[in-house]
């Protein structure tokens, strides 16, 4: 497993995950900064994400939708608060209306990503989410969650096979 630590604070509603990758910080940053790569991991297998607007500059807006098995397409957005490639990204994650305006009925999640080299070709990424309330947590989970979420193994194999075919 690449996830090396998980902290959950049910009183403050924060989740912190630490993961390590055999890659440089620049490579890990690319997974966030390249929308085509981001699309390949942000959405769960049954709810792939499509990013229609993507720029990680401070003050920018990122828009995406997810496509569910029933054809439903819930929309989400990020407001970029801090961006220091390849080290730090902070954004507010919200749910968007049909016209991409922020859906004010849903409180937003504060996310902070920190990326640091821990050795040659080895990088640690910490992800921290601060959830506004348990009610909001349920609303977000309802968007783009399917039973057996952790069974992403089939999806991983598919990506690997596809990349091998697409290799130039």
């Amino acid at each position: 497993m690449t996830v090396t630590a998980v902290r959950k604070d049910p009183v403050n509603l924060t989740l912190t995950l630490t993961a390590e990758f055999d890659a440089t910080p620049e490579r890990v940053w690319e997974l966030w900064s390249d929308p085509r790569q981001l699309e390949r991991w942000w959405g769960p297998p049954m709810y792939p994400a499509t990013f229609t607007r993507h720029d990680l500059a401070v003050g920018s807006r990122v828009n995406y939708y997810m496509t569910g098995p029933e054809g439903d397409q819930p929309r989400g957005y990020w407001d970029i608060l801090e961006a220091e490639p390849p080290r730090r990204l902070a954004f507010r994650d919200g749910i968007a209306n049909e016209d991409w305006s922020a859906n004010a009925d849903f409180p937003r999640i504060d996310d902070v990503v920190t990326i640091e080299a821990i050795g040659p070709g080895r990088t640690r990424m910490e992800f921290q989410a601060h959830y506004p309330s348990t009610a909001a947590m349920e609303q977000y989970l309802a968007m783009g969650m399917e039973p057996g979420l952790t069974e992403a193994v089939g999806q991983i194999d598919a990506i690997l096979a596809e990349d091998a075919v697409g290799a130039r």
Binding site: P10, V11, D22, L31, P44, M137, G148, L160, G166, A167
Partner: protein, 115 residues
């Protein structure tokens, strides 16, 4: 992994109670279940009445209860209320573990492509 239904009124009470830093701190201390309201109040720069009010709000949300311990009444955290939040965090953990697995496989895939 399905979200178990919660009563909306319960959610409102729980999140309202958790919205205050002093109340969150009281919850932490009351996990030990050894202090009464007066002892809890000694930790804060506010009146006994103010702390008593916070405890009452937590009690109303089902996050703490008062129980007899010998001659005293102690405030104890009700873990079930916290479990609601914990259960939700578990689901987000699963969501992020899935994401990180996919990030890892993307990195691995490009390495193979480069080789």
């Amino acid at each position: 992994m399905q979200v178990m239904p919660l009563q909306p009124a319960t959610i409102d009470r729980v999140l309202g109670a958790l919205a205050d830093q002093t109340r969150r701190d009281i919850l932490r201390r009351a996990m030990a279940g050894q202090e009464g309201v007066a002892e809890l109040a000694s930790h804060y720069a506010m009146s006994f009445a103010a702390v008593q009010k916070h405890v009452a709000i937590l009690e109303g949300a089902g996050l703490v209860s008062k129980e007899r311990s010998g001659r005293r009444k102690v405030v104890r955290t009700e873990m079930e209320g916290l479990r609601v939040a914990q259960r939700l965090l578990d689901q987000y953990e699963a969501l992020w573990r899935g994401r990180i697995d996919r990030m890892t496989s993307l990195i691995e895939a490009t390495k193979e492509t480069d080789a």
